[in-house]
Amino acid sequence: MMEAARDARPLPFPQAARLALRDPQLRANIRLATTTIRAKRAAVVSELPDWQQLRDAGRTIKDRALHRLDDVLVELEAAVTRGGGIVHWARDAEEANRVVVDLVRATGADEVVKVKSLTNDEIRLNEALQAGGVRPIKTDLAELIVQLAGERPSHLLVPAIHKNRTEIRDLFRQQLGRPDLSDDPHELAEAARLHLRAAFLRARVAISGLNFAVAETGTCCVVESEGNGRMCLTLPETLITVMGIEKAIPRWDDLGVLLQLLPRSSTGERMNPYTSLWTGVRAGDGPRAFHLVLLDGGRTRVLADPEGRPALRCIRCSACLNICPVYKQTGGHAYHTVYAGPIGAILQPQLSGETGHAATLPFASSLCGACYEVCPVKIDIPRILVHERAKAVRAESQGLEGVSLRFLGRVFAQRRRYERAQRLGRALQRPVVRNGHVRWFVGPLKGWGMSRELPALPLQTFREWWEQRERGT
């Protein structure tokens, strides 16, 4: 279920992170998983001598699509329609959900099988379906685990990354009524497979997202690992696909680049096990009705900001999560968003506005730059984080920090003020300094003092030393 977006008032990141840091099992699981996936990615990326050129090509393809997205989308609509599909345009989550629920109800079905889709989570489609009397069945193994546990996904690609197999065994023993299960991964997967198979065979409607939509041919593309997607995309009579408008790419040939970048960056595989491509409908093969819902949901707002716009290049590989030293410590739940990690920290505030909880996300980074280095479409995430911070600072008062930094800005603006402040600091620090160290951490220094000492201001600044030396010679 999509509990993430359901939180009425999600905690600001620092507080949510503090809670996550107190869970040693969670941290150990995340650490093991990200370490493993980082190594796999590094290995398959290093095999390609032209990896950097591929990244450049990926960036160019997505930028070209975004720069003329209006034309690309109209072209896509025409091609999908030619292929026998029906295209629906949705301004926001509410419109998209209404379209989907109405389509499902028109078929008479009271349940749907679902392929893992972040866009579906983003618009809280499951809740809308349930409210409309339709039961959504998640068919991705990790999503099934999260659904059975009544939790929220913690990673874009590996929603149950926070759980280890012993925890999953216990969950399946209870929830699937299989007390015989061991923690052998094959046995656990088989249990899930048996559970899901019945649903696949019964389903009349499937709902998916997609990874790429090719405008010139009208071809939709879903990449996945387990084959549940292939089942959903081919077995039911009706297929409904919801896509964010930024997923459109101009040409068929673009897939040649993007399908090299995505699996290597996401699962650390040369090729993902299942790549499904379909164009409209075909008699006697696959679904008889195909609906494509184009979702804006704030994306045109992102597109309008030249600094923030590159975030729309994202192909949801999650390499930035796996490499992020912050994510590695907290996992995805602390972000309280569908899109966690560095990409979430730049995407969520842009989609929802830089206020409240979302405004704390761009600050959840040390700006170490590791995310930019691994991004397959070269999104300069640190640059956009800083841009989003500036927007947050303009939108909302930052309290004491804002006052201090603005004051400091005035101090730095004049040499005399700056030098006076240095001398004043030295005089004022006396009561809180012992043995060359600050001994009393107050105000904003409290956080620093949590794990670090702070050297006292020295008796002489560099400039005082320099001046003395100049005079002496």
């Binding site: 620092p14 840091l21 600050f363 040499r415």
Partner: protein
């Protein structure tokens, strides 16, 4: 090639809190026969404000630094992070600013400074030295040439220490958790000192080491190269 005078951009943090790093930078350069100048009007380049989201203050401070260093053909900074900020966001100064190891290795063609050091050192490549300036192995080449210095490889060296400016205070819990990992890596080397090209990261790592009472010193590259 005759080297013109070099103007020292000592950084506000170096000036105020770590004067020894500035002094060591002067020592290293003067030993090479370079005349060092210190434009005393300098304060802060604006990186702190820029990264915290105070774009207007940052722009004003950046422009101020352009004026302060106008006419200085070669500017050196013992901070990779501040050098990177200037290079990316202070266009009028960008092409003239060099981080210390860049100046030594690339511009002056020096790797062996003829100094010695007794003890073992591990090198932490700070994030901005690594991913913004792309210093590569320049600092390591300089360290390897120091007589008597035993260089120990730092595990997971490229991982951030968790400083990140205001991040260390705003997200103190996460920052502390990241620091704990870095300290564990540093301590695992068994080195007597950890070295970097950024006083800010060293303030963070050094502050953590002191809190743990670990017998490891935090030293700036310039302090080792000054002999």
């Amino acid at each position: 090639m005759p080297t013109p005078n070099v103007a020292l951009f000592v950084t506000c943090l170096g000036d105020t809190l770590f004067p020894d790093v500035g002094k060591a930078t002067v020592t290293v350069l003067e030993r090479l026969g370079i005349t060092v100048e210190f434009p005393a009007e300098q304060t802060c380049c604006g990186q702190l404000h820029f990264n915290a989201g105070y774009a207007d203050e940052a722009r004003a401070l950046g422009e101020r630094m352009e004026r302060v260093f106008a006419g200085h053909e070669v500017v050196v900074s013992p901070s990779a992070s501040c050098a990177a900020h200037v290079r990316e966001h202070v266009p009028g100064l960008a092409g003239r600013v060099h981080e210390l190891s860049e100046l030594l290795v690339d511009r002056l063609g020096v790797e062996d400074l003829g100094v010695s050091y007794t003890g073992s050192v591990t090198y932490h490549p700070s994030c901005h030295s690594l991913r913004l300036l792309h210093l590569g192995d320049r600092p390591l080449r300089l360290l390897r040439a120091v007589r008597g210095l035993e260089l120990f490889e730092l595990p997971e060296a490229a991982e951030c220490c968790g400083f990140g400016g205001t991040f260390a205070v705003k997200n103190a819990d996460v920052s502390s958790a990241m620091l704990a990992d870095k300290l564990a890596s540093v301590e695992a080397t068994g080195a007597g000192a950890v070295c970097a090209c950024d006083s800010s990261c060293l303030m963070h790592i050094g502050g953590g080491l002191e809190r743990r009472r670990a017998p490891v010193r935090a030293l700036h590259l310039a302090e080792i190269l000054a002999g």
